[in-house]
């Protein structure tokens, strides 16, 4: 479905001050099943964009629609993962992954009767990202990379049609990060959700996305919309192919220009 996520002239202002303008007349569309990465200089309103799309914050001006419905509040068809581990420390890994099932309908109503089925599903998902055997551990007993894997599972457990990832690998070292790129690519190819990934790692954007959007410095708007035509599954080595390297260079130049304009 084209235009699964659609933003039209969206602006967002935190309060009445002029400097508090985080987004300025931003428009773009994301098709269903598409993997879009949003990159930009820091503080350009990438995270704000995520919150607007998921309905956590209302847009000040303009319209946001997801699946042809205007967004007026948080959407349950969305799965989210954040930069810092937002796992609940009092829950085990399995309980954390199953959290969305306790809230999102129709799962919440069925959970009590079909706990076994759902639990098996959660265990399968954890096994897929290599966390078999850690189900009964608490988040703080796991490494940062493992916590982010758990977050990915939690974002996917209720089979959302839209996956919003807010720098989910930002706090990880390079090797763990690359490992998780592969895990994410695998998950995405298996289920084909629509993905919007906010990141400041250009290699990450070039490796994972079908399309890369570059945002300007604050107030943010889209200054480049670049398609990435590369076959899947992509191998990690391909990030050093000339095509990929050129793309990263191109993105980098746009962001440098955006930063220079802001300064």
């Amino acid at each position: 479905m084209p235009g699964f996520v659609r933003l039209q002239d969206v602006s967002l202002r935190y309060n009445d001050e002029e400097t508090a303008l985080a987004l300025h007349r931003t428009s773009f569309e994301v098709d269903q099943g598409e993997f879009v990465a949003v990159v930009g200089p820091s503080g350009c309103g990438k995270s704000t964009l995520m919150k607007v799309v998921t309905g956590l914050w209302p847009a000040t001006v303009g319209q946001v629609t997801v699946a042809n419905k205007p967004v007026v509040g948080p959407l349950s068809i969305v799965g989210m993962a954040f930069q810092n581990s937002s796992l609940l420390p009092w829950r085990t890994i399995l309980q954390n992954v199953m959290l969305p099932l306790e809230i999102v309908e129709p799962h919440a109503g069925r959970l009590r009767r079909e706990r076994g089925t759902y639990e098996a599903k959660a265990r399968d998902l954890l096994a897929l990202v290599g966390l078999k055997g850690y189900e009964d551990k608490h988040p703080w007993q796991l490494s940062g990379g493992m916590q982010q894997r758990t977050q990915l599972c939690r974002a996917l457990i209720h089979e959302p049609s839209l996956l919003m990832l807010d720098e989910p690998f930002g706090a990880l070292d390079m090797f763990t990060r690359e490992e998780l790129w592969l895990a994410l690519q695998e998950l995405w190819m298996a289920r084909r959700p629509t993905v919007i990934l906010v990141t400041h790692d250009l290699r990450e954007a070039a490796f994972l996305a079908d399309r890369v959007l570059v945002m300007s410095a604050r107030p943010g708007r889209i200054i480049l919309d670049r398609k990435v035509h590369r076959p899947r599954p992509r191998a990690l080595d391909s990030t050093y192919d000339p095509e990929s390297v050129n793309l990263v260079h191109e993105l980098r130049e746009h962001i440098s220009a955006a930063r220079a304009n802001a300064a």
Partner: protein
């Protein structure tokens, strides 16, 4: 001591020889050993009583000023039946007041912590109320309810509900926005956010406050008993001191201390069961200091 277990020097450079292993073992100093650590509080208490006893005997302090521990324990044994009866009365009074404090403090804390409007509206009034010395309220309570158990229960409640309320409210109000967003992004209702994040998150705060509230609940009931009751440890101590039976009054103090410690230990035990995640299970890990 042959192994010098208390020595702190670890400047010896490690070699590959296996006989260096005992050096590592002796790193846990004498005072860090489990048995010693468990015995330490008892050593301190017994030592205190011994010093006290010696002090009284050496300086021949009159009994009505400071009775010796031996005299106190003799009285404690002689009056064991009335002391037990009155302790039971005090314990029950305290527990009933404390129970009300838990229920109302927790409910009020949730309301205060989850709603900005309720917080802004009620907090100043609560602060004002908490600044009133509760002892000054007891005469009013006596006018309303007469002399007896009820003023003591209410005083115990009034003193102990505030710490619980404030702590629960703080725990809920300071939930990390990220955690709240996780739930809100899933379309969770406000109630669900409180049930799934707010309450579990407030649990460590709640239990921390129970430990404070427990001890001040005893203060409340005993103070009320000394002013307006005809039973309880407070009453017993008042009667004892008015008859110059100072060792008996001190016996009452010791019993009060024991009850306080007992309840505290129970609170801590429940806390460790319920909120082990908050201390990250660090118990038992004794590396470093």
């Amino acid at each position: 001591m042959q192994h010098e277990p208390t020595r702190l020097d670890d400047t010896r450079t490690a070699t590959t020889e296996s006989d260096d292993l005992p050096v590592l073992v002796s790193r846990t100093s004498f005072f860090e050993r489990k048995l010693v650590r468990q015995a330490l509080p008892w050593v301190v208490i017994v030592g205190m009583f011994i010093i006290w006893e010696l002090f009284v005997r050496v300086f021949s302090v009159p009994e009505f000023v400071l009775p010796a521990p031996s005299a106190i324990f003799t009285e404690l044994w002689r009056w064991r039946v009335p002391i037990l009866e009155n302790s039971w009365q005090t314990l029950m009074t305290t527990l009933v007041g404390f129970a009300f404090a838990i229920v109302i403090g927790a409910i009020g804390g949730v309301a205060l912590g989850s709603s900005r409007v309720i917080y802004d509206g009620f907090y100043p009034a609560l602060i004002a109320f908490n600044s009133i010395p509760k002892v000054a309220v007891i005469p009013v309570l006596v006018i309303w309810f007469g002399i007896g158990t009820i003023p003591a229960v209410i005083t115990a409640f009034l003193l102990s509900f505030f710490p619980i309320l404030v702590n629960v409210a703080t725990g809920i109000a300071t939930v990390e926005p990220e955690l709240r967003d996780v739930l809100r992004a899933l379309g969770a209702s406000k109630r669900q956010v409180i049930m799934k994040v707010g309450l579990p998150r407030a649990m460590p705060y709640f239990f921390a406050s129970l430990k404070i509230a427990m001890t001040v609940a005893f203060v409340g009931s005993i103070v009320a008993e000394t002013v307006a009751a005809n039973a309880g440890i407070g009453h017993l101590m008042l009667v004892a001191s008015s008859r110059f039976e100072v060792p008996l009054a001190f016996a009452g103090l010791i019993v009060t201390g024991l009850m306080g410690v007992g309840m505290y230990v129970i609170c801590v035990a429940i806390e460790q069961r319920m909120t082990g995640w908050a201390t990250r299970g660090s118990e038992g890990v004794t590396f470093g200091n």
